[in-house]
């Protein structure tokens, strides 16, 4: 009993437990789940697929974790910002109003940087509203939640812009000669940069201090609003990168579908990662495991014949379960229940003793 409690109180218990649970279900349903094959010089297999497809969620989860930790609120604009940065990138590459192109108008890297920059601009906007104007994070990000996608549509002249230029597909697919999907490398790079930032600078300490007690952090000399702003900026940049990856997968900018429902996945990843949505201490590794768990769930659901439109039902239920379990009211309720049960047990044993004495 005691050791179980110790185990469940470990920070990475929840994400790992969920991950293993999902994998187990998969293994039982399809024994060939773990098999990885090489076809046409690239790796194939369900596991590779999850790692590959989960890239965007993992990148978003990194940014979202910081935002949740610092402001106890979530950035719900990430999906829309993804779409905007994809559109911005494709628009620049193809030229405004061009439906499909095989020739790039500007070098590829410029387009991609522009896309990421757009993400950064969105992050700046959100950060300004939250940290300077003190608007509730979710209301502030609600503005871009609708507007970003619409702006993306405008940039692409209300159509899907195709970039039929081979290297553009590399990021979301494979670089010739390398058997591992490129998106995985991108994810690793993003995670590496952010964790280096957290490890090598004191950003992590600042974020947690502000998230736990912003008044005390201020007295200790940390500028709470600057740190908050920075987190939203990073979150915006992450959305931008995720948007470019998503766009590269389909070598186009489909404003209506890129990043659709990703905000839920990103928030769910943070919660599944064992991070409290109330802010404070955070664990980046947990969020990343959470992100891949969600992708595993999505892939499993798809394999079971549930369509992409229907999948949110299951995810919404998981979100509700996690937040209910995390809720202080629920915890207090559970504690009083177990206390009562303990008291009942003590009473029982004393009763038995008395009976025995008699």
């Amino acid at each position: 009993m005691n050791s179980l409690k110790k185990l469940t109180s470990k920070t990475l218990f929840l994400p790992l437990f969920c991950m293993i649970l999902v994998l187990l279900i998969n293994v039982i349903k399809s024994p060939d789940f773990f098999s990885i094959a090489v076809k046409n010089g690239v790796l194939y297999g369900r596991l590779v697929d999850i790692l590959n497809r989960g890239s965007e969620i993992a990148i978003l989860a990194v940014g979202q974790t910081l935002v949740v930790a610092v402001s106890a609120g979530t950035d719900i604009s990430v999906g829309s910002v993804m779409s905007l940065s994809a559109c911005g990138c494709c628009m620049l590459l193809a030229g405004y109003g061009v439906n499909s192109t095989t020739e790039l108008a500007v070098p590829m890297i410029v387009g991609m940087l522009f896309g990421v920059l757009l993400g950064g601009v969105c992050g700046t906007f959100n950060g300004f509203l939250v940290s300077k104007l003190k608007i509730q994070p979710m209301v502030a990000t609600l503005i871009l939640f609708t507007a970003a996608r619409a702006i993306g549509l405008l940039l692409c002249d209300n159509q899907i812009t195709y970039i039929r230029y081979e290297p553009y597909k590399y990021l979301g697919n494979f670089i010739p000669g390398i058997p591992i999907p490129t998106a995985i490398f991108v994810t690793i790079a993003v995670i590496a940069v952010i964790s280096l930032l957290l490890k090598k600078t004191s950003l992590g300490l600042y974020i947690q201090s502000v998230g736990i007690n912003s008044r005390a952090a201020r007295i200790s000399g940390i500028s709470s609003s600057k740190i908050c702003f920075l987190c939203y900026l990073i979150c915006g940049l992450c959305s931008g990168i995720a948007g470019i990856v998503a766009s590269s997968r389909i070598y186009s900018a489909d404003s209506n579908n890129i990043g659709l429902n990703y905000e839920l996945d990103a928030i769910l990843a943070v919660a599944l990662g064992g991070n409290s949505l109330g802010g404070g201490k955070f664990n980046l590794a947990g969020s990343i495991i959470g992100a891949y768990t969600i992708q595993a769930i999505t892939t499993t659901l798809l394999a079971m014949g549930v369509s992409t439109d229907q999948a949110p039902v299951i995810k919404a239920i998981i979100v509700v379960i996690i937040v209910v379990v995390q809720a202080p009211v629920f915890k207090a309720w559970m504690e009083t229940r177990s206390a009562r049960r303990l008291a009942a047990r003590v009473a029982e044993t004393t009763d038995e003793k008395e009976m025995a004495e008699k």
Binding site: Y206, S209, I212, N213, A216, A217, I219, I222, K281
Partner: protein
């Protein structure tokens, strides 16, 4: 007037895990009197009130009220209201977005035939109530457009209109100006004359002598005594609150003082913060320990917060080591070499979920900036150094701060500032709520740091403590710096300075 007892509370005991908050406390209230409940922080004033109004449930003791059978045991504030006990708190517990009339009647609105809210009757009755209490406002005005005093009075009016026999005013005057206080007192006297018993909790001595009839003094959860206002001079009241028997006040000499150099570390002129502290001058020399004394709420915390920049000063200039300092936010002061240990440890000091190590290096890290991360080994070294130096009792340096006891948390926060090697350190009530042994340690440390050339501002509710450590004291009263005491300080001289006004 015939003295008719309205309420008696006897032998009230209340314990929280690890703390005895009330130890056989008592309170007696007569009809038609204003009764001051006094005591320093932690004396148990709010606890005894909360036991009465049903916020807490007492462990033992008896409460009797006139007109109610048997011992009273309230389980919620609503229950207390039903038998006529109403409370008005420091923060106004009303809805600022509603009209005065609604605030008076919400939850019990007059209804029309079809069970809808009858606005006409409500507004009319509200206006009548306000007129009767001689509060000249339009009852349909939105509450937030009114001054805090009016809001406070609306809260009282609500309580009175709900047929209260006993009104508890828990520090209602701390955010009011003199005129507003006068209005409030007028209302209190009107109520008293109509037979309502009023318990008045406050830190302002002036106000006690202006409006109250009787005083109950509490200390450390215990009943100290009940006095009639006219029989108790101020100095005696202060002595009772601070726990010194006036007759055997031995003057405690500061132990082995080091001579102070002439180098001025901080020079502040005309600093002020609207609503909390009136303009003041402050100057401290190298190696000096200056005490700021005064009762709670007299502006001693507000003064140092203003110096530090925790509350941005709205006027005046500050010079630190000869250089002008613009303290817009704490980081500016930290960079100039200041440190500040705030009095509200929980809200302003502790970052509870972080480890002891992280809490210790926080201010140093903030001063050095984000990109100059202190290497992990160095952090551990510093943490270990201070855990050792200050004898912090913790399981390890990686233990979350909120698992430590109050005194040890305080030491960790002290360590946070010592890390930065400040030239000027402000300690606001560093010894509150910690045991006697640790208190002595703190005093020794303060003297030691001063000997090493650090300038220190030391605030404490215990005069004895300050006499041991300080060379000079600033006296605060009612949000104003009223003077300084120097040279041969005794408990007596300090207390009469705090009490001010008449001298006996």
């Amino acid at each position: 007037m015939e003295e008719q007892v309205l309420l008696t509370m006897r032998d009230i005991t209340k314990t929280f895990p690890g703390v005895v908050a009330l130890d056989h406390a008592q309170l007696t209230l007569r009809k038609g009197e204003v009764h001051a409940l006094m005591g320093e922080n932690g004396a148990g004033k709010s606890t005894i009130i909360k036991c009465l109004t049903g916020v807490y449930e007492r462990d033992a003791g008896e409460v009797r009220m006139e007109g109610v059978e048997g011992s009273i045991y309230n389980h919620s504030t609503q229950e207390a209201q039903r038998i006529g006990i109403a409370t008005v708190y420091q923060e106004v517990n009303l809805c600022p977005n509603l009209s005065i009339a609604e605030n008076l009647f919400i939850g019990r609105e007059p209804r029309t035939m079809i069970h809808t809210v009858d606005w006409k009757t409500m507004n009319r009755r509200a206006q009548k109530i306000m007129d009767n209490l001689e509060i000249h406002v339009d009852a349909t005005a939105t509450l937030e457009t009114c001054s805090i005093a009016i809001q406070q009075m609306v809260a009282i009016a609500r309580a009175v209109d709900m047929d209260c026999k006993l009104l508890i005013l828990d520090e209602p005057t701390s955010s009011l100006d003199d005129k507003e206080v006068a209005k409030l007192f007028k209302l209190m006297r009107t109520l008293r004359d109509s037979g309502v018993g009023i318990v008045f909790v406050t830190h302002f001595l002036e106000q006690v002598y202006e409006v109250c009839d009787r005083i109950t003094v509490m200390r450390n959860g215990q009943f100290v005594g009940e006095y009639s206002v006219s029989e108790l001079p101020r100095v005696k009241l202060v002595a009772a609150m601070l726990g010194k028997d006036f007759d055997d006040l031995a003057s405690i000499k500061p132990e082995g003082r080091v001579s102070v150099s002439d180098e001025v570390v901080l020079d502040a002129e005309h600093l002020s913060h609207k609503g909390t502290i009136k303009p003041f001058d402050f100057r401290i020399r190298k190696g000096e320990v200056v005490g700021v004394t005064g009762l709670l709420g007299s502006g001693r915390s507000e003064m140092v917060r203003c110096i530090y920049g925790a509350d941005k000063a709205q006027s005046g200039t500050e010079r630190m080591m000869g250089k002008t300092l613009k303290a817009n936010s704490p980081i500016d002061s930290i960079k100039a070499g200041m440190g500040f240990l705030p009095d509200d440890r929980k809200a302003d000091g502790c970052i509870g979920d972080l480890s002891v190590r992280e809490n210790i290096i926080l201010a140093l890290q903030a001063r050095d900036g984000m990109f100059k991360r202190i290497p992990r080994t160095k952090q551990a070294e510093m943490a270990d150094h201070f855990i050792d130096l200050l004898q912090i009792k913790t399981a390890s340096r990686e233990t979350p701060l909120n698992q430590l006891s109050g005194g040890n948390q305080q030491k960790v926060i002290l360590a946070r500032w010592l890390c930065t090697h400040p030239d000027f350190l402000i300690l606001d009530e560093p010894t509150r709520g910690i045991d006697i042994g640790t208190k002595t340690e703190f005093q020794k440390l303060v003297l030691q740091f001063a000997a090493e050339g650090m300038s220190i501002v030391f605030i404490s509710s215990e005069i004895e403590e300050m006499l041991r450590t300080c060379t000079r004291m600033c006296v605060m009263r009612d949000g104003e710096k009223v003077g300084e005491i120097q040279g041969s300080m005794t408990q007596e001289s300090v207390m009469s300075a705090i009490a001010g006004g008449e001298k006996k």
